[in-house]
């Protein structure tokens, strides 16, 4: 066939380079290494390794082997490499790795070297040092030329017939003329040997084939070394193509070789399965993903990755207004304070009666709301009271909320907080500049009360919760005062995380922080970091605490209930012993409300996804998301890998280009005039029976509903017992399932692979979806589930045992138990909190734990106990 012009493609070039066989690679490697090494100044490599005729002696024989590997300068190296690589590859492909090794370390370099030394020194009496692999190039060129000469002896140059074996000679001449200081003689020696070899006079130098076979077999080189070219290929060229002596299709073997080689890198899935490299990489890759994911998180606190916070919404103008909350209002505050102190022990309703009077006296509209929740067999009830300050000239379109819970999260009486709310209500009434209504809300407690109120405000309340008699416009923001003590305070603690790890707009937080620290000179701290020396450690701790809170997804204060309704809210807690008094706190609130009052649009400019590592330092989603995504992706990678693997031909050791005895019978396919032999499995794509695995995985995910239901609907008294029962059962369950599986279905290895594949796929999907909703939870669970990536039915019992222990430790139940032990809370308390969160806050952390993590864990342990059925052709 007439060769048409080639089109170059980088992909093929790359694939070609990837396909270089072992010896060629190693030679290239060595040359490169030596070249690099030659740059060090310690000792003169060139001087040491070059072939210097006068130096040659018994002790310096090594030079005859080293000189081809050493080069002088960059161009020398690379031109030689480029010339050498293809030739060497062809040579090795034809004679096998071992042979090439034997030849090139031995005769192929020594003989020409000795020849050269002899002529140079003995006859010409000169002493020109030679080095570089160019000598091999010409040797190989010569052999090639001889081969070509066999097939087509000459080519037509005009009228004259030029014999093809001339070409190397011509090239030597050209090179020595064109390229400066090349050793003509050296090249000639190379050529001489090459011709000798090519014409078969020197074949005796090659090591005997039986020996090679023996070595190969003994050492199982084929299995061990990648890119190893077996000896057998000599029997029928490469890749089982019978060499045909038909001049017309010289390129046929090439063609066939290309076919399979292309197959290896071809984009098609059916062939991806056959690529050993791709089958090796993924486990390491996914491990890498996990490592990078964690590392990524750890570098975030560094200055280069985190940013200083800034205000995006220009309308806010924090701290731009002068605040007037002082003077005689302090007396009023003290008055209210005394009243509140007096009501310390009163019942909810009496308190509200009194508060109603106060609000009415300040000329505000007052309304109340009763609520009652039942969770884990307990009822939480109370009555909220709130007053609305109508914006003068406003039209009830927008509103801001100032919340003071009667008791705070710890259950302490929020005395100064409530008094401050009352005083501010009276004070704000005097101003005429409000563009939004202001709602003063005093909830009965900090957990159920705010939830009941905000639910009712949006008419999504459950029954048992009254709907609100009076309403205002769309809520634009909420600020909670949590000030349960009398004395002066040192600085502010800002609590910002909402239910299910949703966060308020960063602008709100920035506003408060900049007002407190900038305008009032009050320090602000986060996540209970009472003193934060801006060090890496402190930043990391802050971030991790934040992530823990976010991951748990519980309400950390009255503000949390507002956030799911897209109402940005925060809680301000004064703490410490300092010289800041209540009025300062009041001024912070005043200034904050003036800022919120400026808002034209709902807060939307700044970030909603961020990790804070200090009151003025944050990481935005773009920077931190990859870490969770990487952890999630590792599952997906493994899932895809297992899918591919489960579909691939089961003999794991069928190597590139080697049709070893193991691989199945060969099918001979006749094509026009060439015959190709291809292993048979390549023809039939392997079928997967994935119904059983899919069933198991989906089933286990549905099974997760059971614990979810149980833990959210048992009375709290029973919770601990139930928990211990469950965790005991939990360790047995996978064993049971696994044994039933093995007995009733006897799953094959492939089915186990698919089982794992599906389970990991689901895990990866759920986690990456979750990472966008609640980053921290996704990250934590991803980390805890990471060992599932490497679980499989192990052969050795030791590993199995170790893994069983590991999995037992990483079971959701064990983790939960460990957590409770670490924060020394009772299991019962934690579970009750969880049930409360589920019933009242609509917290869905449990769903993730029981319906995403737990099933994954169960399936993992099932595999661990699994005993794959040995198929006749299944395992090799």
């Amino acid at each position: 066939m007439a060769p048409s012009l080639p089109q170059f493609s980088a992909a093929r070039m790359r694939s070609y380079v990837f396909r270089l066989p072992l010896f060629t690679r190693s030679i290239i490697g060595v040359i490169l290494v030596l070249w690099v090494a030659s740059y060090q100044g310690v000792f003169d490599l060139v001087q040491w390794g070059a072939l210097i005729p006068k130096e040659i002696g018994i002790s310096t024989m090594y030079r005859t082997n080293t000189f081809p590997l050493i080069h002088r300068g960059v161009f020398h190296t690379f031109f030689n490499l480029i010339a050498l690589a293809p030739l060497l590859e062809r040579f090795e492909a034809e004679y096998g790795t071992l042979t090439s090794l034997a030849l090139f370390v031995g005769p192929l370099s020594t003989i020409p070297a000795l020849l050269y030394t002899f002529i140079e020194r003995g006859i010409l009496g000169m002493n020109t040092a030679v080095l570089g692999s160019s000598i091999w190039v010409f040797t190989l060129l010569a052999t090639e030329a001889c081969k070509t000469y066999k097939t087509n002896p000459s080519f037509q140059l005009g009228t004259v017939q030029v014999p093809t074996w001339i070409t190397p000679l011509v090239m030597v001449v050209f090179v020595s003329v064109l390229v400066p200081n090349t050793s003509f003689l050296g090249h000639l020696c190379g050529l001489a040997f090459g011709y000798g070899w090519g014409l078969g006079y020197l074949k005796f130098l090659a090591p005997p084939e039986w020996a090679l076979r023996w070595i190969e077999g003994k050492l199982n080189l084929l299995g061990r070394l990648p890119h190893y070219v077996s000896v057998d290929q000599k029997t029928y060229g490469r890749f089982g193509v019978l060499p045909t002596t038909n001049a017309s299709n010289i390129s046929l073997p090439t063609g066939d070789r290309m076919q399979v080689e292309m197959g290896l890198v071809g984009t098609s899935g059916s062939l991806l399965r056959r690529d050993p490299r791709l089958l090796k990489v993924p486990p390491y890759l996914s491990f890498l993903c996990i490592v990078i994911g964690v590392a990524w998180l750890l570098v975030l606190p560094l200055d280069n990755y985190s940013r200083k916070t800034y205000i995006s919404e220009n309308a806010l103008l924090p701290g731009q207004v002068h605040t007037y909350f002082a003077g005689s209002d302090q007396n009023v505050f003290r008055g209210y304070k005394r009243e509140v102190d007096g009501m310390g022990e009163w019942g909810n309703v009496e308190v509200n009666d009194k508060l109603e009077e106060f609000f009415k006296a300040s000329g505000l509209k007052v309304a109340r709301q009763r609520y009652e929740y039942t969770s884990a067999g307990e009822t939480y009830s109370g009555e909220n009271i709130y007053a609305i300050l109508h914006a003068p000239r406003g039209d009830a379109e927008e509103a801001i909320v100032l919340v003071g819970a009667w008791t705070n999260v710890e259950g302490e009486l929020n005395k100064s907080g409530v008094a401050l709310v009352l005083t501010l209500a009276r004070y704000f009434k005097r101003w005429s500049l409000w563009s939004k209504d202001i709602i003063f809300l005093i909830t009965a407690d900090s957990r159920a009360g705010p939830q009941a109120w905000v639910d009712a405000y949006h008419d999504t309340h459950q029954k048992g919760v009254q709907s609100l008699p009076v309403k205002s416009g769309a809520l634009q923001g909420a600020v909670v005062i949590d000030y349960p003590f009398d004395h002066r305070f040192e600085s502010l603690h800002v609590v910002y995380d909402g239910i299910n790890g949703q966060l308020p707009n960063l602008d709100l937080l920035n506003t408060v922080v900049s007002i407190a620290s900038g305008q009032m000179g009050i320090g602000a701290s986060l996540q209970k970091m009472w003193q934060h020396t801006d060090t890496y450690k402190d930043r990391l701790t802050t971030m991790l605490r934040g992530m823990m809170n976010q991951g748990l997804g519980h309400a950390s204060g009255p503000h949390s209930s507002f956030i799911p309704y897209h109402v940005d809210a925060i809680t301000l807690q004064p703490y410490g012993e300092g010289w800041q008094d209540e009025m300062a706190m009041g001024r912070v609130i005043e200034s904050t409300f003036r800022s919120l009052n400026n808002l034209l649009e709902h807060l939307h400019q700044s970030f909603f996804f961020y990790l804070l590592m200090q009151s003025s330092r944050f990481v935005s989603i773009g920077t931190y998301l990859p870490s969770a995504m990487l952890v999630a992706v590792n599952f997906t990678i493994m899932a895809i890998f297992l899918w591919v693997k489960s579909g691939s031909t089961p003999s794991p050791d069928s190597k590139v280009g080697s049709t070893s005895e193991k691989s199945g019978p060969l099918a001979i396919i006749k094509k026009e005039d060439a015959v190709a032999i291809v292993p048979e499995e390549l023809l039939e794509a392997r079928e997967r029976d994935f119904f059983l695995p899919l069933g198991v995985v989906v089933g286990s995910h549905f099974l997760g509903v059971l614990p979810l239901y149980v833990f959210n609907h048992t009375p709290h008294a029973l919770l601990p017992i139930i928990f211990y029962l469950f965790s005991a059962l939990n360790l047995l369950l996978p064993l049971l399932i696994s044994s039933t599986l093995t007995h009733s279905f006897a799953p094959t290895l492939q089915q186990y692979q698919l089982l794992k594949s599906f389970s990991l796929l689901f895990l990866g999907m759920f986690l990456s979806a979750l990472a966008t909703l609640n980053f921290s939870l996704a990250f934590l669970i991803g980390l805890l589930a990471a060992p599932l990536t490497y679980i499989q039915p192990f052969k050795s019992t030791v590993i199995t045992a170790l893994y069983v222990v590991l999995m037992a430790l990483l079971a959701p139940t064990s983790v939960l138990f460990a957590g409770t032990w670490y924060w020394n809370l009772g299991v019962g308390a934690v579970l009750r909190e969880a049930a409360f969160g589920w019933d009242v806050w609509g917290m869905n952390t449990q769903v993730v734990v029981w319906c995403v993590w737990w099933p994954g864990w169960v399936v993992g342990v099932i595999q661990l106990f699994g005993r794959p059925r040995v198929r006749e052709k299944g395992k090799a």
């Binding site: 899935g269 059916s270 062939l271 897209h566 996804f609 997906t636 895809i640 094509k671 979806a769 966008t772």
Partner: protein, 421 residues
């Protein structure tokens, strides 16, 4: 007999699952009806209720921006007891429709058209799933179930299309054309299925039509479809008393005035499109959608059923108002070509992409609409991924079928790597 029992078992199970979902989770139907992935402006059950209400109170539903569905649905649902007071009636209707679709699907599978059409017989035809498996795959596909619970009117279109095909494979072109015109009348785009469907009818035509030429056959059926459509339109005219339903029903699909988000590619594109180019791009999009018909019909002349399947897949991606019910239809039809699955290359990739999008879509929609912490680009990006995943699947199936055909010409090429030039 046993066969019948299996059929009954499958249908019974499917009906039971649906009915349980309807009854055990009373909130679920309305929740799903509200999901943009299921209900589009042209199929939403809630909008149907609104239209029905207006219709019962003698306000023209088409003189408003809410109801864009076919007039015939109004009297149909007016006959049912209202879904507020007697929801179970509506549930039963939708379950019934699903089962009818499954039945039609089963007929198609039985005909074996997938493996061996009259002009072409696949070497792999031996490897196929029984009609029951295929029907089950359709009935228990989460997408189908969700659609059934969400009660969009697209299920009627689905049912009509499937019946059109099932009639076509047994060669009764008249009924097939009737079903097709119903489908097109309900939601317009099925009319694009006419060319492959008519070819299918022609290939499977009965003995008495054996001798009439393709041209006469086609023209006859064109007349038929035209007739059916005209009568349907006229009936609608009588029902609503004016022709304004044409503009409000089909005009909306053509001009896209309602930009409610959905899983498709149109809505965000036309939200962001500059006014001066809007009409131009509307034209381009429609042209693009219809451009596949000719190409596929000609290239795959020998397997018209697969042309229909591929077209359905393409509609599910590029319709003005696609929903997962269209996807479920495509996924239901695909197993008819089970025998080419081994030739597909990106099945896993495509399917996992679709799964990812299925999970991430609602999450991002929540972030945009409810939490307010994400913006529209989140959901838009997911619709892109979804469409890409689907189109990979469609293209891959097409590749497999084409290769299957090719290997008939060149049997020695089985299992070989091939390229396209």
């Amino acid at each position: 007999m046993n066969v019948e029992r299996r059929k009954v078992a499958i249908f019974g199970a499917a009906a039971a699952v649906r009915f349980l979902l309807f009854t055990c989770f009373p909130g679920l139907p309305d929740l799903l009806t509200g999901r943009v992935e299921i209900s589009t402006p042209v199929t939403s059950f809630k909008r149907l209720q609104e239209g029905l209400f207006l219709y019962n109170h003698n306000v023209s539903p088409y003189d408003g921006g809410v109801y864009h569905q076919a007039p015939i649905l109004l009297p149909l649902f007016a006959l049912l007891p209202s879904s507020q007071s007697w929801p179970s009636m509506t549930y039963l209707l939708y379950i019934l429709v699903d089962i009818l679709s499954a039945n039609a699907l089963m007929k198609i599978a039985k005909s074996g058209e997938g493996g061996s059409s009259s002009l072409y017989c696949s070497p792999r035809m031996g490897k196929k799933w029984s009609g029951y498996a295929i029907a089950a795959a359709f009935l228990f596909n989460p997408f189908t179930i969700a659609t059934c619970i969400g009660r969009p009117t697209s299920v009627f279109t689905t049912c009509a299309i499937l019946h059109a095909i099932s009639k076509a494979v047994v060669g009764s072109s008249f009924t097939s054309m009737f079903a097709l015109s119903i489908a097109s009348y309900l939601s317009m785009y099925p009319v694009l299925l006419f060319p492959p469907l008519i070819l299918l009818c022609y290939d499977r035509r009965g003995p008495k039509q054996q001798n009439d030429s393709l041209l006469s056959f086609v023209s006859g059926n064109v007349m038929g479809v035209g007739g059916f459509l005209y009568s349907l339109f006229h009936m609608s005219y009588i029902i609503t008393g004016s022709w304004e339903f044409i503009e409000s029903t089909y005009g909306v699909q053509l001009l896209l005035p309602d930009l409610t988000p959905n899983v498709g590619l149109w809505w965000y594109f036309f939200i962001e499109m500059f006014d001066s180019f809007r009409n131009f791009f509307l034209g381009v999009f429609w042209l693009h959608l219809s451009s596949y018909v000719a190409g596929l019909t000609i290239r795959l002349r020998r397997q018209p059923l697969f042309v229909i399947i591929t077209l359905l897949g393409i509609f599910a991606i590029f319709k003005p108002y696609p929903s997962i019910s269209d996807t479920s239809l495509y996924l239901a039809m695909l197993p008819l070509y089970r025998h080419v699955f081994p030739l597909m290359r990106y099945t896993f990739l495509a399917l996992s992409t679709i799964l990812y999008a299925t999970l991430l879509g609602p999450a991002f929609y929540y972030l945009w609409i409810y939490a307010g912490s994400g913006n529209a680009n989140f959901f838009y990006a997911i619709t892109l991924v979804w469409s890409l995943g689907l189109s990979i699947l469609v293209a891959d199936a097409l590749f497999a079928v084409l290769r299957d055909e090719w290997e008939v010409e060149r049997p020695e090429m089985r299992g070989k790597e091939i390229r396209q030039i």
